[in-house]
C-alpha cells in the first residue's frame, strides 16, 4: 500500500489524454483521494508529445511528484520518453494497436484499444475510455464511481454515448483486472465526499462570476482563453456580456469603456497581450476607471513558449505603462486563492478606482487540484464610494475628480442622473477638463496616490513561520504548492523552515514582510524566472537581500524536490 501514486498518461495531442486524466482524477476525487494534475503539451493541435501527470494521495497534493507508478502510453514515444521515470513495481498500459515493439512481460500490458472498442460496439474515439478502465482495474478499484463520472461527463451528448463509453470502460476494466494483484495499491482514502476538482482558470472564472462581473473582453491567448470560454458558457445566461475583441488593445479599451458606464469589467490575456494592453492600463489609471486585468503568464520574451510556464512578468506587471499611477497586483497560488483574489480584485478596483492585475501563469491556469471547496461564502460586493442622489442630480456641476482626503472621488455613471461624467486621459481638473496648471497637476497625482491608503492593513502575504528557522523560503504565485511541500519535507527531516508567500506583490507589503522574516534564518527566494525578480523587488522595497536564489526558467513548473535539491 502506498500513501500516493503517480500516473502519467501520454500520447499525441488530440488522442484524448486530457480526458483520461480528467475521468480518472474525478473518480479519485469522488472516492475521497486528493489529486494534483499537471498538463504538459506542445503548441500544436494534433501530434507531438503531450501528457497529463496525476498525483493521487491520501495527503496533500499541491504539486506534481517525480516518478511514475502507472504509465498509460497511447503511442510509442511516450514509453521512450518516460521509461526512465518508472518507479519500482510500476506498470505500463500501452496501445498495442499503435505501439508495435513494446516489451512484453508482467509490467507491460498491451491492449488493442481500437479493436476492443469495436468489439464492444463503441467507436475508436473511445480508445481512451478503454485505457481508463484498464488503469482503474489495475489499482484494484471498483467501476461504479468511474461509470458515474462518465455519465456526468457525457450526459450532454446523450444516453447512447454514455452507454457506449461505459461498455468500453468495462471491457478495458476486465482486461486490466488480472494485473491488479501485482500493481501498486493506494492506501484507502479518508472518504470525504463533496470535494471539487478544478483548474486555476476555472477558479478565476468562478471568482469573477461570484463577484458580479458583467463585462469581459479578450483576444484569445493561451493560457488565459479558458476564462473567456467559461464565461461565455456559463456567464451569458447570468447577464455577462463577453466580447471577443480584434486584439488586446481593443479588449482592454472595451473593458474600460464598459466600466466607465458602470459595468464591472475585466479583461484577460498573457504576457504578450498584456504588453499590448499596457498603454490603456495607464488610461484606466489616469481616468480612475476600475478595471480587473488577468495576466496569465507564459515564457517570453516575444512569443516565447506558448504552452509552457514562467513567472517572468512580475516586474513588468508592477511598472507596465508610462507615467505613474496606483495599481494593485495580486498573485494567487492555487484554486482557492485564485477564486478569492479574483472576487476581491473587483472590490479593490471599485474602491480604489484603479486597475487591479491578477498575475497567474500557465501552471496555475492549466493544472488541476482537488480542493475541499471554494470560499464562496466569503465573497461580498463593495462598489466603493458612489455619488449620492444630490450629486447625481448636479448636472454639469458634478465633479468626477473631486479632490478628497482619501483621494477617492464619488463615482457616477453616465445615465444615472443628470450628472455629466467627464473623463479624459489628459491631466484634468476636478470636473474632468484638461489642465496644464502645475499646482493642479501635482494635486491630482497626489490624490491618485492617496487612494492606495484604502488598502489599510490588508494582508499581502501568507506565512507559515517556525521559530528558529534556519531558512525562510520566499515565493509567489504558482510555486506556492511546491514550496509548501518543500517546507513539509524539510521539517520532516528535522530542519526548521519558514515560508512566506506573497499574495499581493504591489503595493509591496513592506511592513508585513519585514515582520515575517525578522530574526529568521537565511532568505531564499524561489521563482520561475532567470533574474530573480521577486528577490529584486524585496531588495527594492525593504533593502533586504536574498541570501540564495532558486530559479527555474526552462518553461516547466517546480516540484518540491527541485527546490530541496537546490537549497
Amino acid at each position: 500500500m502506498a500513501k500516493e501514486l503517480s500516473i502519467l498518461i501520454g500520447g499525441e495531442a488530440g488522442q484524448g489524454i486530457q480526458s483520461i486524466g480528467q475521468v480518472l482524477a474525478r473518480s479519485f476525487t469522488r472516492s475521497g483521494w486528493r489529486v494534483f494534475a499537471l498538463q504538459d503539451f506542445e503548441s500544436r493541435i494534433r501530434g507531438g508529445h503531450a501528457f497529463t501527470r496525476l498525483r493521487v494521495t491520501t495527503g496533500e497534493a499541491q504539486c506534481h511528484a517525480p516518478g511514475i507508478d502507472i504509465l498509460v502510453a497511447l503511442n510509442a514515444e511516450t514509453i521512450g520518453l518516460h521509461r526512465g521515470e518508472l518507479n519500482d513495481g510500476a506498470r505500463v498500459i500501452y496501445d498495442s494497436g499503435r505501439v508495435k515493439e513494446a516489451e512484453t512481460g508482467a509490467a507491460f500490458l498491451g491492449l488493442d484499444l481500437a479493436g476492443i472498442c469495436r468489439e464492444s460496439s463503441g467507436s475508436s474515439a473511445m480508445a481512451n475510455t478503454v485505457a481508463t478502465g484498464a488503469a482503474w482495474a489495475m489499482l484494484g478499484l471498483d467501476t461504479p464511481v468511474v461509470e458515474a463520472v462518465l455519465e456526468s461527463t457525457f450526459a450532454r451528448r446523450g444516453l447512447e454515448t454514455v452507454n457506449k463509453n461505459i461498455a468500453v470502460l468495462r471491457a478495458g476494466y476486465a482486461l486490466g483486472r488480472p494485473y491488479s494483484q501485482a500493481a501498486p495499491r493506494l492506501d484507502p482514502p479518508d472518504g470525504r465526499a463533496g470535494r471539487l476538482f478544478l483548474s486555476g482558470a476555472d477558479a478565476v472564472a468562478l471568482g469573477a462570476l461570484a463577484a458580479g462581473v458583467s463585462f469581459y473582453s479578450a483576444y484569445p491567448m493561451t493560457p488565459a482563453t479558458s476564462v473567456m470560454e467559461y464565461l461565455i458558457r456559463h456567464g451569458r445566461e447570468r447577464g455577462v456580456v463577453v466580447e471577443q475583441a480584434e486584439d488586446e488593445i481593443a479588449a482592454i479599451n472595451m473593458a474600460i469603456g464598459a466600466s466607465f458606464m458602470g459595468a464591472r469589467s475585466m479583461t484577460g490575456t498573457s504576457g504578450g497581450g498584456f504588453a499590448l494592453m499596457s498603454e490603456a492600463l495607464g488610461l484606466a489609471g489616469c481616468t480612475e476607471i476600475p478595471l480587473v486585468v488577468l495576466n496569465a503568464q507564459r515564457p517570453g520574451p516575444a512569443t516565447g513558449m506558448p504552452t509552457r510556464t514562467e513567472q517572468a512578468d512580475l516586474l513588468f506587471a508592477l511598472f507596465a505603462s508610462h507615467g505613474e499611477f496606483p495599481r494593485v497586483v495580486l498573485a494567487p497560488d492555487g484554486p482557492e486563492s485564485a477564486f478569492r483574489l479574483t472576487a476581491e480584485a473587483f472590490n479593490l478596483a471599485d474602491r480604489l478606482q484603479a486597475p487591479v492585475i491578477i498575475l497567474t501563469d500557465h501552471h496555475l491556469m492549466d493544472s488541476y487540484w482537488t480542493v475541499e471547496g471554494l470560499p464562496v461564502g466569503e465573497v461580498s460586493l463593495d462598489r466603493g464610494v458612489l455619488a449620492g442622489p444630490e450629486e447625481l442630480a448636479s448636472g454639469q456641476n458634478y465633479l468626477r475628480y473631486r479632490i478628497t482626503p482619501s483621494g477617492v472621488s464619488p463615482r457616477a455613471f453616465p445615465g444615472q442622473g443628470t450628472a455629466l461624467v467627464c473623463s479624459t486621459g489628459d491631466e484634468h481638473d476636478q470636473s474632468g477638463h484638461i489642465t496644464e496648471e502645475p499646482g493642479l497637476r501635482s494635486a491630482m497625482v497626489d490624490k491618485r496616490w492617496r487612494k492606495l491608503e484604502q488598502l489599510g492593513d490588508r494582508s499581502g502575504l501568507e506565512c507559515d513561520l517556525q521559530d528558529g528557522a534556519d531558512t525562510v523560503l520566499v515565493g509567489w504565485g504558482s510555486t506556492g504548492g511546491a514550496l509548501r511541500e518543500a517546507v513539509r519535507m524539510r521539517r520532516a527531516g528535522g530542519a526548521k523552515t519558514s515560508l512566506v508567500l506573497l499574495t499581493c506583490l504591489w503595493p509591496f507589503p513592506e511592513a508585513q514582510f519585514r515582520q515575517a522574516v525578522e530574526g529568521q534564518g537565511r532568505l531564499v527566494s524561489v521563482e520561475g524566472n532567470s533574474l530573480g525578480q521577486l528577490a529584486r523587488l524585496v531588495r527594492m522595497e525593504t533593502g533586504l537581500r536574498a541570501d540564495h536564489q532558486v530559479l527555474r526558467y526552462d518553461g516547466r513548473a517546480f516540484c518540491a524536490r527541485d527546490i530541496l535539491e537546490k537549497l
Binding site: T29, D247, A250, M254, Q396, H433
Partner: protein, 282 residues
Amino acid sequence: MPTLNDYKGIETTWCPGCGNFAILTGIRQALTGLGLPPHEVTVFSGIGQAAKLPLYTRCHYLNGLHGRALPLATGARLVNGRMKMIVVGGDGDGFAEGGNHFLHAVRRNVDLAYFVHNNQVYGLTKGQASPTSDRGFVTGTTPEGVVHGRFNPAGVAIALDAAFVGRTHSGDMQHMVRMMTLALQAGGFALLEILQPCVTYNKVNTLKWYREKAYDLETADPSYDPTDREAAFRKSLEWEDRFPIGVLYRGTRPAVVPGKDEPLALQTVPQRDITPLLDEFR
C-alpha cells in the same frame, strides 16, 4: 426642450478658421434637433485636434488614447443600450492608429455614430501626411509628395456593409446637420465622413476645393438607391474630379443594439450564487 446653450462647453484651443468649429456647432444642432438633453449623450474620442471636441461640449465624455475611441465606445455600448453614443476623431486617429479598430467596428455593427473629421493632414503634430492625403500632397514628411494610395473610408465601410455611410463637408452646415441627424438615427454602425479644411497645414484641400468638387448625391440623381451596395461602392470611388456627398449607403445587416430597458451597466451588481455551478467539478 434642450437648447444649443445646454451643449456649450469651455473655450477651445483650435486655430482660428478651423473646420472643427463648424462641426462642433453642427453636433450641437443635431443633438438639440433630436431633443436630446446632454445627460443622454456620451461622446468618445481618442487623440488629435478633432478628438478634443468632447471637451468643448457639455455631455458625458470619455477622451481616451490615440486611435482607441471605437473600442472604448464599443464596450460602453454593449452594456448600455439607452444612451446616445457618438465617437469623434480625425483621419489619423481613425484610420492610422485606429485602422484595425475601424474595420472591426464596422464589421461588428454596434449602434454607434462615428463622425470622422477628415482634413487629409495631421494638424496636432504639425502638418504631416495622413492616410487620407491625396497622391502628390507635399508635407514635412512627404517632401516629394505622397506616393501611397489614399485610404477610402466610405469605400471600406461599404465593403464591410456598415449600417450607414454618409459624407458631408464643414462648409455646408445644413447638409452636415442633416447627415449627422441621419447617422444618429441609423441604429447600427454609422460612418459619417466630414471633410473639413485645415487652414494651417493643408493649402490644397481647402473649403473652396470642397465646395467646387462636392456634389449632392440626392439632387444629382434622385433615383439613387443607397441600399444598392454595388452602386454605392462605385460612388465611393469617385474622388479626383468630383466627389458625392450625402447618404452613400445604408446596410441591411442586423445591428448590435442592446436592449433599451435598464442598461446592464446601471443595474445593481448581482451577488451571484455560483454554488450550482460547482457540481460540474465534483
